[in-house]
């Protein structure tokens, strides 16, 4: 028993040590020749899987540009490893050094900024309401007495709850365990509306059996900066990422990438998301920053 405790203590100390020294990403990838990218399997056009261990998406492409610049700095070709992350594990995996750069759909907010750092925002999400075209729901007020679906482990739920309270609207929350299931709740009639990030709604509608049955309605419930995430206290790597992003915006590459992912047909089904860059996204490009979501709400 004592031996086991000792072994446990030693491994904890070792883990703690690794944790402490992992903050210099450039030095770390230079030494190992490996960079681990955190990817998502279904975050709409921002990041998703093509199956077979292949990932793609808008943020994925931005990350590939950052890694290309990183390779120039370290002076060698890097071996890119992909680590699938979820809403639940992405922050801990970045914190503990498993993932070096997370290229999914993470909202940059003040709580998370205590644990991790974010690159400058290149995509601002609007939280919207999707509903059946025939439902007669046109705004938040119409949700009174309705079943509203949202996905477990996302911040939209919290937002919904605050809205519900502020406007005296009473609706029932139903939770899908992922976006596909939340959309199934709407499709199968278990929910009257699905509240989620606009591009996820647009993407789900685009791939639905009958896209014309659904529409996105109402004013945006919130705007949220979505950003690429990496470890805290690593100014050199953060500067490198932000320089890449600034160069991409300046050269027009960013707008071209946006068009590629949100306006053109994309694999695997060659459907269009059809979501033009919002005013908030354009403003983020014009004035690059890593402000958390809270700063957007103050405006």
């Amino acid at each position: 028993m004592k031996k086991q405790l000792l072994a446990l203590a030693i491994s904890l100390i070792a883990a703690g040590g690794a944790y402490a020294q992992a903050n210099d990403t450039i030095a770390k990838v230079k030494a190992s020749g490996v960079i681990t990218m955190g990817v998502r399997d279904s975050s709409g056009a921002l990041a998703y899987t093509l199956g077979d261990g292949k990932y793609t998406g808008f943020h994925y492409d931005v990350c590939q540009h950052i890694i290309a610049d990183l390779e120039k700095v370290v002076g060698k070709k890097l071996d890119i490893k992909y680590q699938l992350v979820t809403s639940q594990n992405r922050v801990p995996l970045v914190q503990n050094g498993t993932v070096d750069i997370e290229c999914g759909s993470t909202t940059n907010n003040a709580t998370r900024q205590k644990d991790v750092a974010f690159a400058n925002t290149v995509y601002v999400e609007e939280v919207r309401i999707a509903t059946k075209a025939a439902s007669g729901i046109n705004s938040v007020a119409d949700l009174n007495g309705k079943n509203v679906a949202t996905t477990t482990g996302t911040t939209s739920v919290q937002l919904l709850r605050k809205n519900e309270r502020a406007k005296g609207i009473d609706f029932k929350e139903v939770f899908g365990k992922d976006h596909a299931e939340s959309f199934l709740l709407l499709e199968s009639g278990r929910a009257d509306a699905f509240v989620m990030d606009g591009q996820i709604l647009a993407g789900n509608i685009a791939t639905a059996k009958n896209p014309a049955d659904f529409k996105i309605v109402g004013e945006p419930l919130s705007v949220e900066p979505i950003a690429i995430m990496f470890r805290k206290d690593d100014p050199a790597f953060k500067k490198l990422a932000n320089d890449t992003i600034a160069a991409m915006v300046k050269s027009g590459e960013m707008a071209k990438l946006y068009d590629k992912w949100f306006m053109q047909p994309i694999p695997p089904k060659n459907t269009k998301v059809g979501l033009p860059a919002s005013e908030a996204t354009k403003a983020a490009w014009a004035n690059l920053n890593d402000k958390p979501a809270e700063d957007y709400l103050k405006k």
Binding site: Q88, D115, T152, G153, K162, E173, F175, S188
Partner: protein, 238 residues
């Protein structure tokens, strides 16, 4: 560690602590109701499987057991929640809570039916003949001779099954029941204090399952027949 997080408002005027206890209530409600369904249906099916002169009832009960224990629990829940309402639109109106109680109850009933069958078949044949010899009907033989013995024999695995049921109730989150697992996933996302949230939820699951264990052990002790089954507490490999 920052345990203060449980005192924060979740946006709807209740604290995360209150929300967690609500969620715990849902977990216990799902588990409790499913346990009743599982015990009633499981005992019935287990008994049917051992009837001496009713081959069709035996086949029916066998089919029930094989159906519900060969499909993964999560898949069963989805079948109940999404697929069956598509086929029978009337099921659309059935609340998720009821569906999950029956899904979990039926899944567990197939396992309990196996244990009941095993318990009955573990009895010496002479017990059944004794019942017949004093002129009992099949029903009476089960009621007065076989089942009182069989249930005592299978009490330890029933205890495990009851604890499993409580832990399996976490699948209810897949059909929008706001139980502990869903609370954990949601609260850690909203507060970014996953370690505290998961530790608290772990403790509640452990306390609940251990309470089930203690209650079952108490009943087991009260019910044991002296000299027939080795008293609890003397066995085990410590």
């Amino acid at each position: 560690m920052d345990w203060q997080v449980f005192l924060n408002d979740d946006g709807s005027g209740r604290t995360y602590l209150q929300w967690m206890f609500d969620a715990w209530g849902w977990t216990l409600a799902v588990a409790g109701c499913s346990w009743v369904v599982a015990m009633v249906v499981g005992s019935l099916m287990g008994v049917l499987r051992t009837l001496p002169n009713s081959p069709w009832l035996v086949r029916l009960a066998n089919a029930w057991v094989e159906l519900f224990r060969n499909i993964p629990l999560l898949v069963q829940i989805f079948l109940w929640y999404f697929v069956l309402p598509k086929i029978f639109p009337a099921m659309q109106a059935v609340p998720g809570f009821t569906l999950v109680v029956f899904a979990l109850g039926f899944f567990t009933s197939s396992r309990i039916a196996e244990q009941v069958r095993a318990g009955i078949q573990a009895l010496p044949k002479g017990q059944r003949y004794a019942g017949m010899a004093v002129g009992f009907t099949t029903m009476q033989t089960y009621r007065y001779v076989i089942l009182p013995m069989a249930f005592r024999i299978i009490f330890p695995p029933l205890t495990s099954e009851s604890m499993n049921l409580l832990k399996n109730s976490s699948v209810a989150f897949a059909v929008s029941i706001s139980e502990l697992t869903m609370f954990a996933m949601q609260a850690q996302e909203e507060t970014s204090r996953g370690v505290e949230v998961y530790l608290a939820v772990t403790a509640l699951y452990a306390v609940s399952a251990f309470a089930v264990n203690r209650v079952m052990a108490f009943v087991e002790k009260k019910m044991q027949i002296p000299g027939f089954i080795v008293a609890t507490g003397t066995g085990g490999g410590h």
